[in-house]
Symmetry: C2
Subunit: 241 residues, 2 copies
């Protein structure tokens, strides 16, 4: 390779393109290794540039690069839950979870390191970015539930489920992605409906949301199947009814 | 105050007692302030001893003291879920949650700072201590469900609920302990039963656990009330059955 080639390659990219190329390389590395095992040399090598060039774009070094990569990943994640407000709730949630779980599967080591905490690059800023994703996801879901002013019980139910989905994702990665993605997705959707129904028993607003959502579910869809299965399980507990 | 008084006070305590006194003082401070706002001078003052004495017991300074206080709090928390294996499951869970939520209420700022991450004293060791509490809680609950070898779906359901309880606790603190403790406790128990029932629809082991648990619940207990309420909410969705 002549010394001219990399120089020409440098010139071909605008500042924004170069920044984005470095971020992509960093994100790829941070996705599959814990932050401790990623060096700026690795990032420079993966992007095919020099270490000083990485520093020129990210003078704060690895910490700054990590936070920028995390912000970029957070934007992708927030988009997972954006879904047109049409059709049964379980279909919308399934599509969102498909995207979310695919993201988790692609960023396995980085996702675990980030959420399990105790990482050398974890700061109040990285925590704030992750919390922003959680808030955005909750906002999307509440919009799908079609309530203008969600009360505290409905909001808490949604946020509890989002945390439960995170926990399930970490366990899923830990257990070599078992059960298969589509089974985990269906199960998480069912858990959400179950949590909503239980909250509906003590909250009028949630009860209204549940009634409206169930009316749109087809009998041969996941909730019809779930409802019939549940009846066979609780059928022996007729003394409770 | 004469200079003799504190010296006599120092002598009166054994090494173990002194250590425990310093830990209690630290835990009290860490419970109500974020770690950033607690200094060793504060701990010394609260315990009525000198700063050098705190350093003699905790040469690693604030970090070491924080981790020791956290370990002591973790032991208390693990005991919350120890409960004799008698009576309906919801009664046992309610008693455990009463203790857990009382603990959360007493250690509000410290609990939030610890679980929200990004704290200056958060390390892989503090993460490991918190994870140990989660594992212990899951172990207790699985023993209450009376299964010798819990399968992956049952384990995941329990761990998802534990994370959801944590999330609910943080929101509860954030919203000035609303709803009241006993209402939150009942709701969390209902959420657990709902999640178990939903998992039972696709997992034979969980179905067996649910059947056994429901058989012990009285008709006028929380699950009887929940079941009848749920029927009125889903009654309009007869097309799903």
């Amino acid at each position: 390779m002549t010394s001219e080639a990399p120089t020409r390659a440098y010139r071909r990219l605008s500042v924004e393109e170069r920044r984005s190329q470095l971020l992509d390389a960093a994100l790829e590395l941070f996705a599959h290794r814990v932050p401790e095992d990623v060096s700026l040399d690795d990032v420079a090598e993966a992007a095919g540039v020099s270490r000083p060039l990485v520093y020129r774009y990210f003078p704060g070094g690895k910490q700054q690069l990590y936070e920028a990569a995390l912000r970029s990943a957070a934007e992708d994640l927030e988009h997972c839950f954006a879904e047109p407000p049409e059709g049964p709730l379980t279909q919308r949630l399934s599509r969102a979870l498909d995207r979310y779980l695919a993201f988790v599967g692609e960023h396995d080591a980085g996702f675990s390191a980030l959420l399990q905490g105790g990482s050398v690059v974890g700061t109040s800023r990285t925590t704030a970015i992750v919390d922003g994703v959680r808030r955005a996801a909750a906002g999307h879901i509440l919009r799908h539930l079609d309530v203008a002013e969600p009360g505290p019980r409905l909001r808490m139910t949604v946020r509890m489920w989002i945390t439960a989905v995170e926990a399930a994702s970490l366990i899923w990665l830990d257990e070599d992605k078992e059960p298969p993605l589509d089974e985990l997705r269906d199960w998480l959707v069912e858990q959400f409906v179950a949590c909503l129904v239980a909250t509906a028993a003590r909250d009028a607003q949630t009860a209204e949301v549940v009634r409206a959502a169930l009316a749109l579910e087809p009998a041969d869809g996941p909730i019809g199947t779930l409802a019939r299965q549940v009846l066979t399980v609780v059928g022996d507990a007729a003394h409770l009814l």
